[in-house]
C-alpha cells in the first residue's frame, strides 16, 4: 500500500506529494504518536503497520 492511500497519511498543503505519516506506538513504558515526512507515492514498509484508535 502507498502512503497516500493510508488514512494516517497527512499531505502537506503546499506540497501534497509529501506528507506526514503518523504511527501509534505502545512500548513497555509509554504510549505515543510518532511521525515522519514521507513521499505520498512510496510504499509503506511492513514494519510501519496501520493502527486504529
Amino acid at each position: 500500500m502507498k502512503y497516500k492511500e493510508s488514512k494516517n497519511f497527512f499531505p502537506y498543503p503546499e506540497n501534497p506529494q509529501r506528507g506526514d505519516y503518523v504511527e501509534r506506538v505502545v512500548d513497555p513504558r509509554q504510549a505515543y504518536y510518532k511521525v515522519k515526512p514521507v513521499n505520498a507515492e512510496d510504499e509503506i514498509p511492513e514494519s510501519a503497520s496501520e493502527f486504529q484508535k
Binding site: 513504558r29 505515543y32 511521525v35 515522519k36
Partner: protein, 831 residues
C-alpha cells in the same frame, strides 16, 4: 505485589519508615505519575546501558547524507545544512499526557549518537553490547559503514593529528585525564540573558542577524582593504546561524502539526484535545517568539536545550530555571491567574522529566565516571539578583516541591545560599535533602561571587548571575561572561601527581613513562625533595591537559562548528564568529581535580613515617607500592594510621594547603585561550571508581583496585574520625576564594537524627557553622546504611532509592557494586 501493598499504606506509616519514593507516588498527579514511569533511563548501570535502550541510527544517517553532499562548504555552514536536514526529516513523537515536547532521538528509548565527535567513540559503539536496534546484524552493518565513512574525519581525530604526538599519546592513554577536546561533547553554557532576560525569540534573533549582514555587506561592497576580508567568512557564519534558526522554527512547527493531527483525528477525550491544541499553539509561538506563558517559557527553554544537544552531545545542563522562568510563572499564577499553582507544579515536574529522559551514547569512561546519569544536569536555584537582593521566589519553592514528587536523579539542584534566604525556602531545601534526593547541594553565594571576581575578573553584577556550568563551577550568564564550551579534557586524575613523584614519572599501570623524570624517590633526602618532585609532576600534568583543551577550543570552529549554539549567543550573533571562538569571552576555565585529597594524605604519610619517624625507608615503601602492599598488611595499616585530612590536624592540613597554593600559583601561569586563569576545582563525580584500577597503590594505604576517595575536599571514607566539626574546620582552613575555583564536600547525615523540627534546627545550625567558616559547597546523603544494604540485597524493591554520588545524584541500583560500597563506607556524621 509490593507496589500494590505500598499504595495501601498510609502516608504517615511511609514517613515513619522514610520510604519517600512511595509517598511521592501517592502525592503526585496522575499525569506526572504516568510521565515519570514512561521514561527510559539513559544513564548506564555501572558501565552498561539498561536493557531496551538503543542507539538512534536515523539521525547519524540523515546527518551523514547531507554533510557529505555539502563537502565544499565551510564548517559552520556545512553543519547547519546537515543539522537542518535532521530537523526537517527526523521522526518526532508526542507521549500521551505530555504538555511539553522535544527529544534528542527519534523514539523515547533511543540514545543520540553524534557521529562526528570521535572515531574511537564510534568504534566503541560498534562493539557495545545490547545497544544495537533490531535486527542486530543489519544495524551492525549500517554502523560499520557509517564508521568507515567517518574514520579519521571526526573532530577528535582532527585535534589528535595536530596535538604534539607525545601529548596525544599520553592523554589518550586514559591514565591522567578524560574528556574530549571538542565541542562535539562538552558543557555548553546558555546565554540566558540574551534569550530570556532580553526576551529574544528566534525571529527576533534572525532580525538581528539580518541587520548584521546588512552592515557587513555595506563594508564588503565598499572600499577594499584588509579589514573587510574576515567579513566574508562571517557572512557565511551568519547565513548558517539564520538557516539553523529557521530550521528550528520548522522543527517546532512539526510538533504543532502533529499535536493538531492527533487532536483532530485520533483523540477522543475532550480535555486531552484541549491540551493538544494548547501544545500546538505553544509550539507555533515558541521558539519563533518570546514566551507569553509559563508553558511557553518552559517549552522554549526545552527546545533550546534539545536543539543544542542534537547539534552536539552536551554533557551538562547549566540552568537557573526559578530565575529565568519566574516572570511567566508570576504572570500566570499570581497576576493573571491563568493557571493554578497545582497546574504550574505539573508543568514544572514535567519540565524536569523531559530533561531526565535526555541521553546520548557516551564513551565508557563517561558512563563509568557518571554512573546512573547521562550528564551533569545541575540546575541552579536561589541566589541573588544583579542588585544583590534575594532572588528566591515561589517558583524556587515550586521546583523544590516538584522534585520531591517526580524524584528524578537528573536534573539535580544546587542551591545558592546567602544570608538573606527566607526560612520557609530553607525548609523546602531541607525537605528535599531529608527525602533522600541528595540534592540540592548548598553553595555559598557570597563566597562564590567573590571567587568569580577574583579568578576571572567578572564584574560584580555579572558574577551575581552565575549558574553551575557543570557539577560545581560557577559561570555568569552574560554576554561576555558566559562560557560557550567547557571541554572536559581539563579533568585531571590528580592522584597520579603523587604516584609519579614516587616512581620517577613512570606509570606501572599503563606501562609508560608519563611524567617528567623527577628522580629516584629512594634517594630523596628529605620531605622537601619529595614535595618538589610532586610540584613538578603537578605542573606537568596540568600543563598537558590544558595544552590539549586549549588547542581543542582554539581549533573547534574549524574542526566542528556550532551554528545553533552561536545563534543563541549575543556576542556570536553580533560578531559573526562561532560562539566557541574565544574572541569576546572573558574566560571562565577550571581544571577539575579528580582524586585530589589522596595527594595530601599520601604526602603526609610519607613525611611522617619515612622522613620524621623513620619507621620505613623510601625504598621499602616503593617496593610495597609496586607489589600492591602484598604481604605488607601491617605496614599498610601503619600508613593508614598516619595523619589524615578531615580531622582538624595541622600536620596534614598544612600539607593540603601547601599543595593547593602551589596549584593556585601555577593556575595563573597557565592561561586559557582568552588569556585568563585556570584554577583548580577538586571534585570527582564517580571518577574515583572509574580510576580505581588505573591508579596504583598509594602511601595513604590504598591498593590498586580500591575506590579512591569520594572527592573534592571530602576526607577519605571512614577516615574522618573526629566528627563533623573537625571536618568543617579542616575544610575551613582552605581559602575558598583564593585557593581554587570551588571545593566539593560530601557529608552523610543520619535520617533518624534529622527527623522532625529538631532535625531541621540541627541542620540549620550546621549550615550556619559551614557558612561562618567560609566553605563554598556541601552536599548530603541522608539515606541510612540499613536502606542501602536492603537495596543491595533486593534491588527490585528499591528501584527508586536515590543517593548523592559526588557532584550528582543517581539511583542506587544504577551504580556499580564498588560505587555502592564506597558510599556505604562514608562516615555518617552525627551533628
Amino acid at each position: 505485589m509490593a507496589q500494590a501493598a505500598k499504595i495501601q499504606e498510609s502516608i504517615e506509616d511511609l514517613e515513619k519508615k522514610q520510604e519517600w519514593w512511595w509517598i511521592a507516588e501517592k502525592k503526585r498527579s496522575k499525569r506526572l505519575d504516568y510521565l515519570r514511569k514512561a521514561v527510559w533511563k539513559k544513564g548506564a548501570i555501572g558501565g552498561n546501558y539498561a536493557p531496551g535502550v538503543k542507539v538512534d541510527l536515523e539521525i547519524p544517517v540523515l546527518f551523514t547524507q547531507m554533510y557529505n553532499w555539502w563537502k565544499f562548504d565551510p564548517p559552520m555552514l556545512r553543519r547547519a545544512k546537515a543539522n537542518a536536514h535532521i530537523l526537517d526529516n527526523m521522526t518526532i513523537f508526542i507521549t500521551d499526557h505530555a504538555q511539553l515536547v522535544g527529544y534528542v532521538g527519534t523514539t523515547p528509548n533511543t540514545l543520540l549518537w553524534r557521529i562526528d565527535g570521535a572515531s574511537m567513540v564510534n568504534e566503541e559503539l560498534y562493539n557495545e553490547p545490547g545497544v544495537m536496534p533490531e535486527p542486530e546484524q543489519a544495524s551492525l552493518k549500517k554502523v560499520a559503514d557509517l564508521n568507515a565513512a567517518w574514520a579519521g574525519q571526526t573532530a577528535v581525530d582532527k585535534v589528535a593529528r595536530i596535538l604534539d604526538p607525545e601529548d596525544a599519546v599520553k592523554f589518550l592513554s586514559g591514565a591522567i585525564g578524560w574528556g574530549a577536546p571538542t565541542s562535539a561533547y562538552g558543557y555548553s553554557g546558555k546565554d540566558y540573558e540574551f534569550l530570556f532576560a532580553q526576551r529574544n525569540g528566534f525571529l527576533d534573533i534572525i532580525e538581528k542577524i539580518d541587520e548584521a549582514i546588512e552592515k557587513a555587506e555595506d563594508r564588503t561592497m565598499g572600499a577594499p582593504g584588509p579589514d573587510i576580508l574576515p567579513l566574508y567568512e562571517r557572512l557565511q557564519n551568519w547565513d548558517a546561524m539564520k538557516m539553523i534558526l529557521e530550521a528550528s522554527i520548522r522543527y517546532a512547527n512539526r510538533y504543532a502539526r502533529l499535536a493538531r493531527i492527533i487532536a483532530e483525528n485520533y483523540e477522543t477525550d475532550p480535555t486531552r484535545k484541549e491540551e493538544l491544541i494548547r501544545l500546538a499553539e505553544t509550539c507555533e509561538h515558541v521558539p519563533a517568539h518570546a514566551p507569553r506563558s509559563l508553558q511557553e517559557s518552559l517549552q522554549y527553554d526545552h527546545f533550546v536545550q534539545v536543539l543544542a544537544r542534537i547539534e552536539a552531545l552536551e554533557g551538562a545542563w547549566p540552568a537557573r530555571p526559578d530565575y529565568y522562568h519566574w516572570p511567566m510563572y508570576h504572570k500566570d499564577v499570581n497576576v493573571e491567574k491563568n493557571i493554578t499553582r497545582e497546574e504550574a507544579l505539573d508543568l514544572v515536574g514535567e519540565f524536569m522529566i523531559r530533561a531526565y529522559e535526555v541521553g546520548g551514547f557516551g564513551p565508557r569512561w563517561a558512563r563509568e565516571g557518571l554512573q546512573g546519569i547521562t550528564g551533569t544536569w545541575v540546575w541552579t536555584l536561589g541566589g541573588v539578583n544583579k542588585d544583590g537582593t534575594d532572588a528566591c521566589n515561589d517558583l524556587t519553592v515550586a521546583f523544590l516541591q516538584a522534585a520531591r514528587m517526580v524524584r528524578v536523579a537528573n536534573p539535580t539542584f544546587a542551591f545558592r545560599w546567602h544570608p538573606k534566604v527566607a526560612d520557609d525556602v530553607m525548609r523546602e531545601v531541607f525537605e528535599c535533602i531529608r527525602h533522600g534526593l541528595g540534592y540540592p547541594s548548598i553553595r555559598n553565594d557570597p563566597v562564590l561571587i567573590q571567587n568569580a571576581m577574583h579568578w576571572h575578573g567578572h564584574p560584580l553584577e555579572e558574577a551575581r548571575t552565575w549558574v553551575h556550568q557543570a557539577c560545581m563551577s560557577p559561570c555568569p550568564t552574560t554576554k561576555h561572561g558566559v562560557q560557550p564550551m567547557r571541554m572536559a579534557s581539563a579533568t585531571a586524575n590528580c592522584a597520579k601527581m603523587v604516584e609519579y613523584a614516587l616512581h620517577n614519572g613512570y606509570d606501572f599501570v599503563v606501562q609508560m613513562q608519563m611524567g617528567p623524570k623527577t628522580g629516584d624517590a629512594a634517594k630523596f633526602k628529605d620531605f622537601e625533595e619529595f614535595f618538589a618532585a610532586w610540584v613538578k609532576q603537578m605542573e606537568w600534568l596540568t600543563n598537558t591537559l590544558v595544552r590539549t583543551v586549549n588547542l581543542g577550543r582554539y581549533k573547534d570552529p574549524e574542526f566542528f562548528g556550532r551554528p545553533f549554539l552561536s545563534a543563541t549567543y549575543e556576542r556570536a550573533v553580533e560578531s559573526g564568529l562561532d560562539a566557541v571562538s574565544p574572541v569576546g569571552e572573558r574566560g571562565n576555565c577550571w581544571i577539575t581535580g579528580f582524586t585530589w585529597v589522596e595527594n595530601a594524605d599520601s604526602l603526609a604519610a610519607v613525611k611522617k613515617l619515612v622522613f620524621d619517624d623513620k619507621k620505613y625507608t623510601m625504598a621499602e615503601l616503593l617496593d610495597a607500592l609496586r607489589t600492591n602492599w602484598e604481604g605488607r598488611e601491617d605496614m599498610r595499616l601503619d600508613f593508614v594510621k598516619a595523619p589524615k585530612w578531615g580531622n582538624d590536624d595541622d600536620y596534614v592540613d598544612d600539607i593540603m594547603l601547601r599543595c593547593l597554593r602551589e596549584v593556585a600559583r601555577h593556575s595563573r601561569e597557565i592561561q586559557c585561550p582568552c588569556g585568563n586563569t585556570w584554577p583548580l576545582l577538586p571534585e570527582n563525580v564517580s571518577g574515583n571508581i572509574h580510576y580505581s584500577s588505573i591508579v596504583g597503590a598509594l602511601p595513604n594505604g590504598r591498593r590498586l583496585g580500591d575506590a579512591l576517595y569520594d572527592g573534592g575536599i571530602s576526607p577519605g571514607p571512614g577516615l574522618d574520625k573526629k566528627g563533623p566539626t573537625a571536618v568543617l574546620k579542616s575544610c575551613g582552613k582552605i581559602d575558598h576564594v583564593g585557593d581554587g575555583r570551588a571545593f566539593l564536600l560530601n557529608q552523610r547525615l543520619s535520617p533518624t537524627q534529622l527527623a522532625g523540627e529538631k532535625g531541621y534546627q540541627l541542620w540549620k545550625a550546621y549550615i550556619k557553622t559551614w557558612a561562618d567558616l567560609g566553605l563554598d559547597h556541601v552536599q548530603f546523603n541522608m539515606v541510612s546504611d540499613e536502606t542501602l544494604r536492603a537495596a543491595q540485597r533486593d534491588p527490585e524493591k528499591y528501584q527508586e532509592v536515590i543517593v548523592r554520588v559526588a557532584g550528582y545524584s543517581a539511583h542506587f541500583v544504577d551504580i556499580s557494586r564498588k560505587t555502592q560500597d564506597n558510599i556505604i563506607q562514608r562516615t555518617i556524621q552525627g551533628i
